[in-house]
Symmetry: C2
């Protein structure tokens, strides 16, 4: 049969344009669930960009539709959606799954840890990618970096933080390892999906929250009810996450696997530049547009306690051994090595101007 078909296929290719041949192929249809509300800026743009990349590069053979939290109603359910195969893909953040698998915590950002350039180098060339694979393999999920927001602001507070005592009993929306650090100092950290943040702050469900930075915070209106805006310590390089159901991925032909992986990477890369741009633009006009915002940094005494608690907590987690210890050690070693280079390059450059 094959011998007979091949010459016909060649004859067809010769007289029909590529698009006709492709249109004749079966269109693969996938669904993606995202943590974000519909048309959420930057983060939502990344998923849209990824979908557009896949559509264009596959010549329309691979179509992905996006369901926002408004549709699927489970902003923090993306991990389960993708693990079960209910959705083939998700866009969210790895540290939201710390309650399901503590080792997912380390792949978003770590307080007092690596900045974006360092973390990317660690992930792609310093062993991070292999560690992420180990963690996610057992869940049948492929995890990919989904866009880095860069250094995040330390959050919005209703009251000024003058000493570590002001953190005791403080109800704050702060996910990831930073939440654990604050808990160690007596705060009550929680995670709340982005679509519910303003209401939670307004109704005093929480006293403070961190979200992202000037790129995304100002349009949320937090400044109206929590005017103290602190500089960052807790998320120096927040990387979002694209998740892919592994079985679904393995069913794709090789070219569409390559297209999906590279489409993801391009979309993620754009998040970094778009975040930086939006932060710069919004910061530049923030003081004139929102004169009530008071930009603050945590006092040295609070920073010292945060560092101490962070180190103690890392040691506690490391003592669990296994992959948890492996990740913490890998990140610590890489931070030390890469920070020396950061200090002599970008930091020295910026400080010497």
């Amino acid at each position: 049969m094959k011998k007979y078909i091949a010459p016909i296929a060649i004859a067809l290719a010769a007289i029909t344009p590529f698009t006709s041949v492709q249109a004749a192929e079966k269109v693969i249809k996938w669904r993606l669930a995202e943590t974000w509300p519909t048309n959420f800026p930057i983060f939502g743009d990344a998923a849209k960009q990824m979908v557009k990349n896949v559509d264009e590069m596959s010549g329309g053979r691979f179509k992905i539709t996006i369901d926002s939290r408004n549709k699927h109603k489970a902003a923090l359910g993306i991990f389960d959606f993708v693990k079960s195969g209910q959705y083939q893909m998700g866009h969210s953040a790895s540290y939201y799954w710390k309650g399901k698998d503590i080792n997912t915590l380390f792949f978003t950002t770590m307080p007092l840890g690596m900045i974006t350039a360092e973390q990317n180098a660690w992930y792609y060339y310093g062993g991070g990618e292999e560690l992420a694979r180990k963690v996610y393999d057992k869940h049948g999920i492929l995890s990919f970096p989904g866009g880095n927001t860069g250094n995040q602001m330390g959050g919005w507070f209703k009251k000024e933080i003058n000493s570590v005592d002001d953190l005791k009993g403080l109800k704050m929306r702060i996910p990831g390892f930073a939440g654990e650090v604050l808990a160690k100092l007596g705060a009550k950290p929680t995670n709340i999906p982005p679509g519910e943040l303003y209401t939670a702050l307004e109704r005093n469900t929480i006293d403070a929250l961190e979200w992202v930075g000037p790129s995304l915070d100002l349009r949320m209106g937090f400044h109206k009810i929590a005017p103290f805006y602190y500089t960052g310590w807790h998320e120096p390089a927040t990387e979002l996450q694209f998740m892919v159901n592994k079985k679904a991925f393995e069913k794709l032909p090789a070219d569409l696997q390559a297209i999906l992986k590279i489409a993801i990477k391009e979309a993620a890369f754009q998040v970094t530049s778009q975040s930086y741009h939006e932060s710069a633009v919004n910061w530049a006009t923030m003081k004139s547009e929102y004169p009530n915002i008071q930009v603050k940094s945590f006092p040295d005494s609070v920073m010292a306690e945060l560092k101490k608690a962070n180190n103690e907590l890392l040691a506690e987690f490391e003592a669990r051994g296994g992959i948890t210890a492996e990740i913490i050690q890998s990140q610590r070693e890489y931070l030390q090595k890469s920070r020396v280079w950061t200090d002599i390059s970008d930091k020295a450059y910026l400080n010497n101007l």
Copy 2:
């Protein structure tokens, strides 16, 4: 004819795997000329990665071969190769073409200018891409960012630089705007392809050179003959360049155009992480492996003169008007705006640790 063929194409698609259909299509073959010697690390890896991306994503329908300078013998002839269509693509750096079109100078990096994160934000969201298009359109070339090395070291010098007088008459390999700045202070800047740098330094054709940083410099052996290694001021965010002949690009079907553009972007993104990694790793062992290297920073008096000359030169170029002024103004405004954000985010974070 079409009515008759369509059902056959559908029938074929149903019983043959994608790869067979694709293999039956005409394979498009392109050639890329790179500035770098064969198997040059990082930079050469980027071109190889781009070619691999295109091959995999197109299912083998689009093949690009790479000619290094060892083959085409014209390391700094890439612009002409691509403009004329002799090669469909090139991998090089935009500031190498300042003698052909002065406005190409601004798209690599600018002395005392934006760092990588700022420059990417400017390029993709602050108007840089549109300006690059204006400059390259008239040459029939599409220019794409080709990988950012990050902050580069200030170079290797045979003699220590103690005052601006030590720059007078200094023969230095330093391309781009930084070369113009040094010329203003009495130095004699020149550009020499990477494959010829060591010999030029050894034979005293030049007294000093800058190449990249610890990621690539150490294996070149410069430290053996020029042991003073200066920190950077002149190339805070060196972006390489992929060039594509516009007519060749326009002949590609839409899916392969998308594949090429996104393949380029992924390969370029990897350069940043790979450079950072190699810099960190090599810097960490540099002092033990090469104890004769003396790391220096230019004295304040020299830095002040460099800044002054840079500002004067920017004003002179701006006075030319047209697109030159447009680019300089766009970069200046964006640097001011984005640097305020850099100062409150990464810089404050690094300085407060």
